[in-house]
């Protein structure tokens, strides 16, 4: 996870004015239309890929039975709670290690070592510890979310312009004030990069955890459907995951736009 990759907002891709909101949906819509045509004409056998209309129908049935909403809710709940737990611990460690040399010396090496273990490799161990209980999923999500938030918070705090910090000191800011007015706002862009990364990892972890060890949730729904060869439900789950991921990303972008209004990259041109 390179931080450099994630700083592209300075050079946002050129966008056409106004039509903006609609334009981004043209390609997904075209794909769905082509997909439907391909299925109807028999170009793609429905055993391989069901038609979008079949997927929508499956979604409608599950919606009526209440199963869909229940599973989405369970997955959403796991994602948010896991994100909150892992995110706040990561944020706290990032703050502590960014602000205190002692804390950094004490914990940073250990954390960097743990980071090199892919957290999904812990699934067997986690199942042994927690069974297929809720806590297993929450643990995995929290662990996955922890590192991007920790690393980016730490990086953000360490790279706050030292000249601004000196300025704050010259003008008599107390430690608390210096944090509130200089360090935290300075670290915020980097923290948001961490949040966006973490959101991606959050869904990924949840999908894997739910397909392997769960008795509810979207991943579980997909696995059940696979056993009964309900390929339309499998595709439906995948699409919903994509939609939820997009939603989380949009929410974080909105938050970013609101809090980073000062940033030249977010100012209206």
């Amino acid at each position: 996870m390179s931080l450099i990759d994630s700083l592209p907002r300075v050079a946002r891709p050129l966008r056409l004015p106004r039509a903006d909101g609609l334009i981004q949906w043209i390609v997904p819509l075209a794909i769905i239309v082509i997909w439907q045509i391909a299925c109807v004409t028999g170009l793609v056998p429905t055993r391989v890929l069901p038609a979008p209309s079949d997927v929508a129908l499956a979604g409608w049935k599950l919606l009526l039975s209440g199963e869909l909403v229940r599973n989405i809710w369970v997955s959403f709940w796991r994602a948010s709670i896991g994100f909150l737990i892992g995110g706040s611990i990561g944020f706290a460690f990032g703050l502590a290690n960014g602000l205190s040399q002692l804390s950094a010396k004490l914990t940073d090496t250990t954390l960097q070592m743990v980071r090199n273990v892919p957290h999904l490799a812990l699934i067997p161990l986690v199942i042994l510890w927690f069974g297929i209980d809720e806590s297993a999923k929450l643990f995995l999500v929290a662990l996955g979310v922890f590192f991007p938030i920790y690393l980016n918070t730490l990086h953000g705090i360490r790279t706050v312009d030292p000249q601004l910090i000196e300025m704050g000191r010259i003008y008599g800011m107390s430690d608390g004030e210096l944090f509130r007015r200089v360090i935290f706002p300075g670290a915020l862009p980097s923290i948001f990069v961490g949040i966006r990364f973490a959101l991606g990892i959050m869904w990924l972890t949840l999908i894997v955890a739910e397909t392997i060890a769960a008795s509810s949730g979207l991943g579980y729904m997909a696995m059940q459907a696979r056993e009964f060869m309900l390929i339309d439900v499998v595709v439906l789950s995948i699409l919903i995951y994509a939609l939820l991921g997009k939603l989380a990303d949009s929410a974080s972008r909105l938050l970013e736009r609101l809090t980073l209004a000062w940033h030249p990259a977010f100012q209206k041109r």
Binding site: Q163, L164, M167, I170, Y171, R181, P185, Q267
Partner: protein, 276 residues
């Protein structure tokens, strides 16, 4: 483009000055004898083996405008940082006549060092130090902004300002606490020629209005003789020359008197350069 816009702006500055003049005078009556005298005795500072300041002795009377010149790396910034209390003194002493509060001594750097995430007005409020939370923080910051001619930019983000405007906001932030000593470290170094001249006028004006003791570090000898009562040349960690500028104010830039003074200071600097 930018410079073309600048001239009308300085005219506006002048109009604003006449408008706010009574207020400025009232502020001065509140606190008479605004400037603080400054005495430095045998000041030394080294970084490792590098002996930068090797015994500076200096007295600056209250309210004087002193310029410090010297070749790059001679320790001008170091001296300024010691005066401002940003670094620790190795040996010697710096005293300000009477007990100075932190708000009494302010520094302005070459970079404006504005908080990009705070609007112009809150950036100026930062300069109030411990008075930031007081009720009159807003009006005081607004007054300081008016004084540098940027009252209409109060709600802007710093990123939309030009370099000269940012530096004026930084000046307003330094002025808002009514400092008694104001130290400048090449504050105009990064500006284009025309902006520089209008900023020099601004500096001279606020100095005359407010009466603080001004210490200006600069690379530009012409700037030093145009603004200062006295020019100090630092060489080999000591004050090698102490030149008084007698020209009356307001000074005419490029006058024969200033030009010959500038020439003699430059010759000092260059001959020192040849010797090394």
């Amino acid at each position: 483009m930018q410079t073309a816009l600048l001239l009308p702006e300085t005219e506006r500055d002048q109009r604003q000055r006449t408008r706010i003049a009574p207020q400025a005078r009232r502020v001065r009556e509140d606190r008479p004898a605004l400037g603080l005298p400054l005495t430095i005795r045998n000041l030394r500072k080294s970084f490792g083996d590098n002996e930068v300041l090797r015994g500076i002795d200096l007295h600056i009377p209250a309210g004087q405008f002193v310029a410090i010149v010297g070749k790059s790396g001679c320790g001008k910034s170091t001296l300024l940082r010691l005066i401002a209390g940003l670094d620790k003194i190795d040996a010697g002493a710096i005293s300000f006549g009477e007990a100075a509060r932190p708000e009494d001594i302010r520094v302005m750097f070459q970079e404006p060092r504005l908080l990009p995430w705070a609007r112009v007005l809150s950036n100026v409020e930062v300069g109030l130090g411990r008075d930031r939370a007081s009720l009159d923080a807003h009006p005081r910051a607004e007054h300081a902004l008016t004084e540098v001619g940027l009252a209409d930019k109060r709600d802007q983000w710093p990123s939309v300002l030009s370099g000269g405007q940012k530096q004026r906001v930084a000046l307003a932030r330094a002025l808002v606490s009514q400092p008694r000593v104001l130290a400048f470290d090449e504050p105009l170094g990064a500006l284009d020629a025309l902006t520089r001249i209008s900023m020099q006028r601004l500096l001279e004006r606020v100095w005359r209005d407010q009466g603080f003791t001004a210490i200006l570090v600069t690379h530009d000898v012409a700037e030093a003789v145009a603004l200062a009562d006295r020019v100090l040349v630092i060489e080999e960690g000591r004050i090698a020359h102490d030149v008084t500028v007698h020209a009356p104010r307001p000074r005419e830039r490029g006058s024969v008197e200033l030009a010959s003074l500038e020439g003699s200071i430059l010759r000092h600097l260059l001959s020192a350069d040849d010797r090394t």
